[in-house]
């Protein structure tokens, strides 16, 4: 239980830092301007560093994991998505993985049924929960554009209107926030439910989940329950988007809890498993076309070995071989 409580306590303490800092320390400038800029800088540079680091790793051979018929003779139908043979097909496969989590759709689980009977069954819950979580978070992030543009671009406005189409509650309920909270809760509960998953779960798995839940709860509270003044918030975010260094007008400390936890997430991002966001595009088992049979891939750092052919060998020893009665190819 320590590995669950530790991240939980850490998130709670991190949420308390800006609350105390703003409510009692008058550190609005630190939490509203200095830390956000620093966090975004760490996020961008960190992601850049790690992506460049990964991009520099050589991948000399094609090592995709496939689960379909590879390209073969003309009359054998190739499974172009499961065993791509061109870069475009591979890109399509990566895209379907990123947008639809196709490999997770095939997730199975093994169960022991009363003794030695081992049964495998399909398990789509993780796929569904993960999909709901990631898509709703994407919508939530895009929706926040209304704080960073004076007038957000048309597609983002349409997205926002779709998100609030239910038109229940005042202010209008955003579905994405609710789905994000429910899905994140499910992802936490999933780690408790099964003893095998519980054992392999680490603090690094719980911390980002708790952090995101904390951010979402703070955001939802600000909108529906404990209102903060939106005008200085917009002034601050517009300022941040325009690289201004002006001090923010007083805003409720709940806003700073939200903002600080987001900053923590940004700083944590490049150093954690959250880098799967960039890493999925660079995984060699996913992004390489499976064309080992039609094209020879040579390891570029193979040592330059001097090979000796049989013809050269025979040239040197032909007379001796003849004397010993060994067959030679050339007389």
């Amino acid at each position: 239980m320590k590995k669950v409580l530790m991240p939980l306590v850490m998130v709670a303490l991190l949420a308390l830092v800006p609350y105390l800092g703003v409510a009692f320390g008058k550190l609005d400038y630190l939490f509203g301007v200095v830390i956000p800029y620093a966090a975004v800088a760490i996020l961008l540079l960190g992601i850049l560093f790690r992506m460049v680091d990964w991009l520099r790793r050589p991948v000399p051979f094609r090592i995709p994991t496939t689960c379909g018929q590879e390209k073969s003779l003309d009359w054998v139908r190739q499974d172009k998505l499961e065993s791509p043979s061109t870069p475009w097909q591979a890109a399509l496969r990566v895209l379907s993985e990123v947008l639809l989590f196709r490999s997770l759709f095939r997730n199975t689980k093994a169960e022991l049924h009363g003794g030695p009977k081992l049964a495998y069954g399909s398990d789509k819950w993780l796929w569904l929960g993960g999909l709901a979580f990631h898509w709703s978070l994407l919508v939530v992030v895009l929706r926040h554009s209304r704080f960073f543009f004076e007038e957000p671009p048309m597609p983002l406005q349409v997205l926002e209107n779709m998100d609030r189409f239910l038109d229940v509650t005042v202010p209008a309920l955003y579905l994405s926030g609710l789905v994000a909270l429910a899905a994140a809760t499910f992802l936490v509960l999933r780690r408790f439910r099964d003893e095998k998953v519980r054992i392999i779960s680490l603090p690094a798995d719980f911390f980002p989940l708790f952090l995101i839940i904390g951010i979402v709860i703070a955001g939802i509270s600000m909108r529906y329950f404990d209102k903060v003044n939106v005008m200085p918030v917009k002034a601050l975010t517009l300022g941040l988007a325009g690289f201004s260094l002006d001090a923010p007008s007083p805003i409720g400390s709940l806003f700073y809890v939200h903002l600080f936890l987001v900053c923590v997430l940004f700083v944590y991002f490049p150093f954690s498993k959250l880098m799967h966001m960039g890493g999925i595009f660079l995984s060699p088992t996913r992004n390489l076309p499976n064309n080992s049979r039609e094209k020879r891939h040579v390891n570029p750092w193979n040592p330059d070995i001097k090979f000796r052919t049989y013809a050269e060998y025979e040239d040197e020893f032909r007379e001796k071989m003849k004397k010993a009665g060994l067959p030679v190819e050339k007389q």
Partner: protein, 135 residues
């Protein structure tokens, strides 16, 4: 883990989502419970009092005006209760016109904040906004 438990967890999450939605829906209607108790249902319709003071504190109005207007609409249209009693006992007609009676003096009163914060209220779907009426 048993199929039953899996179904139970899914069921619990579904219930939690619906309960959460319901609470959200209710939260918009919560503020007026006190006003209901204070005003007898048969209270006569009150004309808006010309007042130099708003019905509530500026800070409170800034945060909650949308919930108050929503509540007023619910009370007046669906329950026929058109009298709002403030905490200090003043009475107002539950109508958007009560607000606009003072605030329409600046036709941009609603819009300067809503436009800045990119918030689009549904008021002007039916009501004539002060920007249109003052033209």
């Amino acid at each position: 883990m048993s199929k039953f438990l899996r179904t139970a967890v899914a069921f619990f999450i579904a219930i939690a989502v619906f309960a959460g939605t319901w609470l959200f829906m209710q939260s918009g209607h919560g503020t007026a419970a006190a006003a209901h108790a204070a005003v007898p249902a048969a209270a006569a319709r009150v004309v808006p009092v010309d007042s130099t003071r708003c019905i509530a504190q500026t800070e409170w109005m800034r945060a909650h005006h949308m919930q108050l207007l929503n509540q007023w609409r619910h009370d007046s249209v669906r329950e026929g209760n058109r009298t709002h009693v403030t905490r200090d006992g003043r009475m107002f007609d539950k109508s958007l016109n009560t607000c606009l009676g003072c605030h329409a003096s600046n036709p941009m009163f609603c819009f300067m904040c809503h436009q800045y914060a990119n918030v689009k209220p549904t008021c002007w779907n039916c009501h004539i906004s002060p920007m249109e009426s003052n033209k």
